[in-house]
């Protein structure tokens, strides 16, 4: 049950322009809703329902997946199911496809969106690490015009993003993996519906037996989803040897600072983070 569910005013702007105008004025601004899977669960759990809600359902600018040779643009209102089922995406952004496929169960994937997952800014959001390793951008819009923010600057603190109160996430601009390999893994309490304890995405390019480029990102090891820059730098140029994964695990354990919470302890997360990084690198051997 959601208390007072009948009272809020929900409006359906017909395009991005109208939505931006509504959000520009504090008197017409409302809580943005995309799929509503996060919001409805929060409201059901007792978070007060806001007076005004602005639905992103009808905005053509926010839906669809567009491919160009060196960029994939995914609209913020694209559902996890659409990402999971788009056969064109699998070879280009396998980590993201795996991440969207692991969000909740089928019912959640059919409704929940990529933009909602990112805006929610949970350190345990599944898609964030997969977005981070692409080195891509978020496109934001407001009446002040569009702007882009690099994904590694988008999550600024616990449940905080670089988006201003009047800004709407329009899309994600993601360079495909090219010849690099990607992995995604999530270690949770149960395969479906689990709020992740920890997850990892990697994008690694190996050339002539050495690591030419490495992007590694994790969720639930800090207040925000993070790139493991210390590990990335350590990996750069290193030959891919049998002992590399274990050495990398040690680097991870020295450099991550996870949190204790109801779902897991910091010690377990630090250990698991090292293990996950080692596993991902082992897959390249």
């Amino acid at each position: 049950m959601i208390p007072n569910a009948d009272t809020p005013r929900i409006v359906f702007p017909k395009d991005l322009d109208e939505a931006c105008r509504l959000q520009a004025n504090p008197r017409t601004r409302g809580r943005l809703i995309a799929g509503g899977t996060d919001l409805m669960a929060q409201w059901a759990a007792g978070v007060p329902v806001p007076e005004r809600i602005v639905s992103l359902k009808n905005l053509p600018e926010l839906t669809g997946i567009a491919l160009t040779p060196d960029l994939v643009e995914i609209g913020a209102a694209t559902t996890h199911a659409a990402i999971r089922d788009d056969a064109r995406l699998r070879p280009l952004l396998p980590a993201l496809v795996a991440a969207s496929s692991s969000v909740g169960a089928r019912q959640i994937q059919a409704t929940g969106t990529l933009g909602g997952n990112a805006a929610n800014a949970s350190p345990a959001g599944d898609t964030a690490p997969a977005l981070l390793v692409t080195g891509g951008l978020v496109l934001l819009a407001s009446v002040r015009g569009p702007r882009t923010v690099p994904l590694d600057q988008f999550w600024t603190g616990y449940r905080q993003t670089a988006a201003a109160p009047d800004e709407i996430i329009v899309s994600f601009l993601l360079p495909p993996r090219g010849r690099a390999k990607e992995t995604f893994r999530k270690v949770g309490t149960r395969a479906a519906q689990a709020i992740s304890k920890i997850m990892i995405a990697t994008r690694v390019l190996v050339k002539k037996g050495s690591i030419e480029h490495a992007a590694v990102a994790m969720g639930s090891v800090a207040a925000t989803p993070v790139r493991l820059t210390a590990l990335e730098q350590w990996l750069q140029g290193r030959p891919l040897t049998e002992s590399l994964p274990e050495e990398a695990a040690a680097v991870v354990r020295e450099t991550v600072h996870p949190i204790d919470d109801i779902r897991s302890t910091a010690d377990y997360r630090r250990w698991a983070a090292g293990q996950l990084a080692a596993d991902a690198l082992r897959a390249l051997l």
């Binding site: 959601i2 329902v49 059919a110």
Partner: protein, 160 residues
């Protein structure tokens, strides 16, 4: 403020005047008297409220009804029970002994129905993935998986 929506609900054109963010689950159960969809957790976790929106299982407890667009096709257990595949599924659930208290079963049958529509020959893994958003406190799932396999086989035989 109300939002007016027109849908195809179990094949019939219906109109709903929806206040605020009234949940699809309440509109179906209370306004349309379709009580097959159940409220378990009310937070998207259990799947007892599963209905099909344009053929896909969704959690009706998480969807503001106003967000369901005009022209959408909604199918509840009452509608699926009138289809051939729905009846075969129901019978297979009974024959496999997959029903105990029954609370999860409308959602289970709907998720199973959607699976068989897109994949007439599912593996055990396909079935478990498709039903992973539907919790059952009684059966331990083995008989539910067996029921879906049985229904798949019967439907394939019928189609021959």
């Amino acid at each position: 403020m109300k939002t007016r929506r027109t849908w195809k609900l179990n094949g019939k054109t219906v109109t709903a005047d929806i206040p605020g963010i009234r949940r699809l689950l309440d509109v179906l159960r209370e306004d349309f008297g379709l009580t097959g969809a159940k409220e378990g957790c009310g937070e998207g976790e259990c799947g007892a409220c599963t209905v099909l929106l344009d053929g896909e299982p969704v959690a009706a407890c998480l969807i503001p009804a106003a967000q369901v667009p005009d022209g959408a096709a909604l199918l509840t257990i009452e509608g699926v029970a009138r289809t051939r595949a729905g009846r075969v599924l129901q019978q297979a659930y009974i024959d496999a002994g997959a029903v105990q208290c029954g609370f999860c079963i409308p959602g289970m049958v709907l998720s199973s129905y959607a699976l068989l529509q897109r994949n007439p020959r599912p593996t055990e893994r396909d079935i478990r993935t498709a039903l992973s958003g539907n919790l059952c406190r009684c059966t331990g799932y083995a008989k539910i998986v067996a029921a879906v396999r049985l229904a798949a086989r019967r439907l394939r035989e019928e189609a021959k």
